[in-house]
Subunit: 484 residues, 4 copies
Amino acid sequence: MNRTEWPITGCEQPLDRDGFGEKCAVVGVFGHPEAANLAYLSLYAMQHRGQEGSGIVSAHEGILLSHRGLGLVADVFPEHIIRQLKGSAAIGHNRYSTSGQTLLKNTQPFVVEYGRGGLAVAHNGNLVNALELREQLEASGSIFQSNVDTEVIIHLMANAKGDRTIDRVCAALARVRGAYSLVFLTPRELLAARDPYGFRPLVLGRIKDAWIVASETCALDLIGATYEREIEPGEVLCISASGLESLHPFPRQPRAACVFEYVYFARPDSKVFGRNVYEVRKELGRQLAREQPADADIVIPVPDSGVPAALGYAEESGLPFEMGLIRNHYVGRTFTEPRDSIRHFGVKVKLNAQADVLRGKRVVIVDDSIVRGTTSKKIVQMVRQAGATAVHMRISSPPTIASCFYGVDTPTTEELVASRLPVEEICRFITADSLGYLSEAGLYAFLRGQRGGFCDACFTGRYPVPVTDLGRKNQLWLFEVAEV
Amino acid sequence: MNRTEWPITGCEQPLDRDGFGEKCAVVGVFGHPEAANLAYLSLYAMQHRGQEGSGIVSAHEGILLSHRGLGLVADVFPEHIIRQLKGSAAIGHNRYSTSGQTLLKNTQPFVVEYGRGGLAVAHNGNLVNALELREQLEASGSIFQSNVDTEVIIHLMANAKGDRTIDRVCAALARVRGAYSLVFLTPRELLAARDPYGFRPLVLGRIKDAWIVASETCALDLIGATYEREIEPGEVLCISASGLESLHPFPRQPRAACVFEYVYFARPDSKVFGRNVYEVRKELGRQLAREQPADADIVIPVPDSGVPAALGYAEESGLPFEMGLIRNHYVGRTFTEPRDSIRHFGVKVKLNAQADVLRGKRVVIVDDSIVRGTTSKKIVQMVRQAGATAVHMRISSPPTIASCFYGVDTPTTEELVASRLPVEEICRFITADSLGYLSEAGLYAFLRGQRGGFCDACFTGRYPVPVTDLGRKNQLWLFEVAEV
Amino acid sequence: MNRTEWPITGCEQPLDRDGFGEKCAVVGVFGHPEAANLAYLSLYAMQHRGQEGSGIVSAHEGILLSHRGLGLVADVFPEHIIRQLKGSAAIGHNRYSTSGQTLLKNTQPFVVEYGRGGLAVAHNGNLVNALELREQLEASGSIFQSNVDTEVIIHLMANAKGDRTIDRVCAALARVRGAYSLVFLTPRELLAARDPYGFRPLVLGRIKDAWIVASETCALDLIGATYEREIEPGEVLCISASGLESLHPFPRQPRAACVFEYVYFARPDSKVFGRNVYEVRKELGRQLAREQPADADIVIPVPDSGVPAALGYAEESGLPFEMGLIRNHYVGRTFTEPRDSIRHFGVKVKLNAQADVLRGKRVVIVDDSIVRGTTSKKIVQMVRQAGATAVHMRISSPPTIASCFYGVDTPTTEELVASRLPVEEICRFITADSLGYLSEAGLYAFLRGQRGGFCDACFTGRYPVPVTDLGRKNQLWLFEVAEV
Amino acid sequence: MNRTEWPITGCEQPLDRDGFGEKCAVVGVFGHPEAANLAYLSLYAMQHRGQEGSGIVSAHEGILLSHRGLGLVADVFPEHIIRQLKGSAAIGHNRYSTSGQTLLKNTQPFVVEYGRGGLAVAHNGNLVNALELREQLEASGSIFQSNVDTEVIIHLMANAKGDRTIDRVCAALARVRGAYSLVFLTPRELLAARDPYGFRPLVLGRIKDAWIVASETCALDLIGATYEREIEPGEVLCISASGLESLHPFPRQPRAACVFEYVYFARPDSKVFGRNVYEVRKELGRQLAREQPADADIVIPVPDSGVPAALGYAEESGLPFEMGLIRNHYVGRTFTEPRDSIRHFGVKVKLNAQADVLRGKRVVIVDDSIVRGTTSKKIVQMVRQAGATAVHMRISSPPTIASCFYGVDTPTTEELVASRLPVEEICRFITADSLGYLSEAGLYAFLRGQRGGFCDACFTGRYPVPVTDLGRKNQLWLFEVAEV
């Protein structure tokens, strides 16, 4: 084992899959007798944002009670555990699944004792000056237990002035830069904060007298909470027995909401940045049909994420929509890749092309994005083998040409096929008869109606916040030998 | 704990869900150096037919090697286990998931030592005279280790005359009645058998020089095998180094293929009883639109099983198809029902109704069947709460009025809402504005083109094979205390 | 993996340790509201007879409830499991720990359904004609699930005539030969049986109105039961609501109680074959001192089993007794042998020689037996390295020259050092200054006072019951791939 | 759950057993290619000092590799884990077993990242001003993750000046008071430190070119290392590629070695504070016989700890030594206390009194100490019930009248029976015919030959170091919900 260099991020992970990674989910509940239970259900509804591990911390009679574990929410929290997480306030976190080292200690919420009691934090996002801050903190005597950037925030809070937690949160966040949607829990308060650019989503809901903060509205739907509003970019919110206190302590910045939440990340039934995701995706499909028509017989999605855009494409183009690829929904984290002679199943264990549907047809395949191109190539080949006479690939977003530094697990820029090849060569690489991407203008044709702008660095390479840590190495000094 | 009475079946289970249960899956491989690996992949592709547990037995140098476990295929078979299952022949089984007692010892394949070596058996189906036969066998000194009907078949084989395994299989099956698709493994042979009525599916495929037998063709697709033909009703097939030997030892019977495989059980991308399931479901949806039109704005499926029929309905009716209900695909076996004050989530943990799609719309919901009616009621209410102004429920099969005795997990006849209430009262019970079922004639309008007939006892109460054991109690004398 | 040949025995195991293996323990309880709890405590007290796995079966309202698991009694039976094992009768079994394949399915009690209900059996011993009987049974249609000889007994019972369980037990046992101490449980009766030679111990005790049958009296001591008597050789005892029924259905045989129970197996605080084991061992030590004196300064035992004999030796010889070897009592099943450069710890992980006690001393080491000689050699070397100027090994039993076929795990005769070498060469092999064994006459000087004789085949090669299966191979047709 | 107050100690634990608790064990290895393996074996040899959990950290190519787990050493470290703990330096820790909450995060070594790399620490002992220091540290911005006092030391190091680790260790330890035997590991150095009073043992050994530091010499014996010397009280030792550097940075204090290590804690075959424990215990027994003779027939120990003293007592008194109480060595952490009607087994599951040895005898029982008196009472009753006509209890140490604050798990002073009752009333309470303790003078008659003095606060109430934290509450702000 050589000394490892590691990206420092709230949900850091190795990058070895052909796709953009989901990000973490956070949730906070205040003022409900079954706070941990609501947090559990919310995490369950947001399982798509992270499957590596989960944690919940509740506040009960001045003490923070915590439980964290690796695996899916429903496995980490059997009933007898939830029952022990007493109290009327709680926060929770889903961690994104990685194929690298999976450690319990990296599972959030982070829980520490500082100054006058317990503090728990859960983070979705990625700081771009965490290493710089860390060097400063270590030089002045701070000890770190992990290389997760969330720990930097806690140290900044511990070193901040001010008696009130919200003041310390504001002081700490004033020094960090990057993307963060955060929830904090103390024995008496729930706090939520969103960076001034509003990269990652965070919404506020209500269920009877209780407040709930969550990454996506699908969490509110499951527990029957009503949607109140977004936590605003740059807002720091403190919920306590005295009510809500909202501060905007940072200089105002142009909004830079992650447009990829619409393209791929969020659950289609969530409202994100004020809009229903399914509707946006369908509209992107319609726009794609207008920009990139195809002489074809049927439109098929790459399920599940491609379904809404394909419906939109079919609707606009007048071509019939078919489920030409069937997804095996039992694909889990533990699938054993078979041995040599019959290996390289790749996408085949997830998708099966239906010959009876595709045979003799000119097919439009609608997908949300192309990352390395290897998966798209396999899908095109599967569809052709199933008898399609022509395969036209249509992508409901512009080419992805640059890595994300704001909390999304992406390959390096070099690994992104669209950063290296023009569209016609990508088309050849994936062996399609034609390939069409949605234009940047098309992406925003429908979205611009919204207040504020978007971060589309992955499509444009224009980064709203410069990455201070870029030259720094996040050296890993500690390594836990795998427990299994 | 009182003395328990239990239905005796190849995949017996308690009946406490609102739905018809999936059935088991079987697979057999002969003549491939990675037989267990192919069996593993096949079971993985057929995970939808059973999630309680899985097992694989391989034949290697005269010995049968077995591994069985509770849970999903990918969890039961980590790579180091598959590597130990050496040999060029193997059989496997997926057991249907139950919410009752889940026991390793009930996981198949059944493996025993009899007479001249090892024998393994895996069974999909249900015998209707197993208790009668068992009484006879016990009276003559046979010892039983389970109350699974598959064990009856093994005892009949052990007591049969004949040196060849195929002769003993024929002799044993001559005495049983009911539904069975079986695979057998000895150190030298793979055998497959299907009852004379052909209730349950079973197909033969080929991959290079190797043979594969499986419940559904989606297994063949995943491993790249070609579909050869169905194992015929009443056929007993023996595959060995000498080649294939096929016998039809039983009196010919009218075919009675389970029509519910088309309606709900099979994977849409499988070819079952000679036809692509997706195409059949879509056609049932089209026919449903013709028989039961609705004055509505959109058509939405109950995902995932209702999608093809809803696509057909939308196509035929000209109404737009929308994903108005979004399914959480992370719903697993272990979901913890929350405690009192916020309980009764039921279908809500699986499905979320999209207000932005449904608001102000007159909605057609397409589902495959109504069992107890409680789930349908919740779905109708969800859709209405999301803002639909009218809710028209359309079912792509006739009313289910009778229990199945041929290997499907169904409620008792009394629990089936359609056995007690006329359609208009069911409509009122589920609080829909209108309810329309597919007619029996409509069900067969498209299917009758096929050779042979179907078992539709669940729709008609007409049972092709009388149930001998009906008055008998399957008393459970042994009970393993749960291991968790 | 080649076809494996395996010794068929009630507690079969591979033979790869330098020592005679402990044997299994059985227990039965009838007439106590906490029968399973008493069985649990009894198994706990008899843990020294088997550490591989344990099982308990209770009878409750006509059903047999069972739980079995691998590992120590206290781990297999957490409280919530014991609580589920309801009923006023129960039997239990400890299985001897092996370093080979450890399978749940080989854990006893064996539970089957036969004829008119459930039957559970637990066995301590080994049949010598099990393979012969098995061939006959398989030829007439019996199916076997294991290669444990206990299963033969159940099949013989199933094929026997007679309505009463006791009659079937008698009929079955009339056909088997070898060593057995058995307990049976039906929903209404507890039965106990001991072979006509009385090889293995089995005692009857009483606690209030309840009866208890156990391998050793230390089980009675723990639960506060009084010792009533031995189950007699050749006795078949049935305990039911009607009281005790005792039969002696077999021809009387000369008693052949295993003398090695006194030498090594039994717990020192047990009464076995009517005598306190500690007292016997101490007397063997005294006799050894008379027969094999040594010119030495101190006497030290090989703990724990050698302590009583060493105390006797010290007492008789007048030499001081010292704990010159200290045992690490945390040695368990799972100790990881270290890697190459520092390996071959062997006995050192269990025993440490005390230099401060041994330095400059002429030492008598008292042990109970020498099997392969390798352990004794290491102990002699340890003691010498610790500074002893002379090492005299004294063994409190005669040389072990022959394998056991009556339920003890022994090396093959060829592996027994005393079968190959005369005493003086063994002395040289173990590098001792002198070596003295107890004589056969000395062994019995004290024991002969008892009624009946002993089996000492391991010391003499005189086998009381000829081994019918000797030429037969116990071929293993089925093999479960390890679950861990 | 109420807010919990908790004693802050290196191996803190709840106090609910009738006995003084063992303390933790530490080990360090430097310069051996299998450092982790040697650490593993050393922890294994010192298992008696802590059974709750274990951890090892190794240094490999600039990174610290760690593994910790709950349970016994042999279970926490299977071979594949040890193999991953590469490097030529390692430290390890055994944590004392408690019946309260057992948490992985409290398992040591503690591993953190501070300033210029990784640092691991393992601690045996207890600081008496940890809470005071902690308040100061928290006030200046330090964040704590546990309430283990070891964490205070790390924070002090992080805040200390000095480039060299040894300087920071000296600076940190200059501020703490109490008992500590510590090992530290950095990627380049192994450090060991012992408090100026030398409360807890710590020795230095050598194996070829490698150095080893361990709590007890039995660790050296197992791995074949030679004993070099004690780490001296007040010594801070740094072992690196440059060799050994030893500092004595603190003011010299009178030695206060824990005399209870001799009485009970240490393994009898260890050399502690320069003397063989077994020899000391035997001599205490001899002195006890001189001071507290008894008119009796036999002497029996309470095994295992009472054996050496009983041997000494028997030798001096001329009475025969017998194993009148037999210990069940399979008693583990997981024993399920049986339910109501047959409960209160207490000491009976561990010890059985031998009627055949005790009947009609006047018995001297030798034990090392009496804590609450409840266990002694049960033992006296057991021995009497087994037929003893008189029971004389003899204790090989003075009455324990005061709690320990230097790292030993003791009841509160009020719970100690000897703090409340005079000897004659204790005798009545435990129902003995006579009771005799060793005198304080007798305790030291043999030991005073050694250089330096002893801490005997538990016998005298004279505390060498005042307890600063005494009035402070160690409030627990964080609580992990049990994982099982």
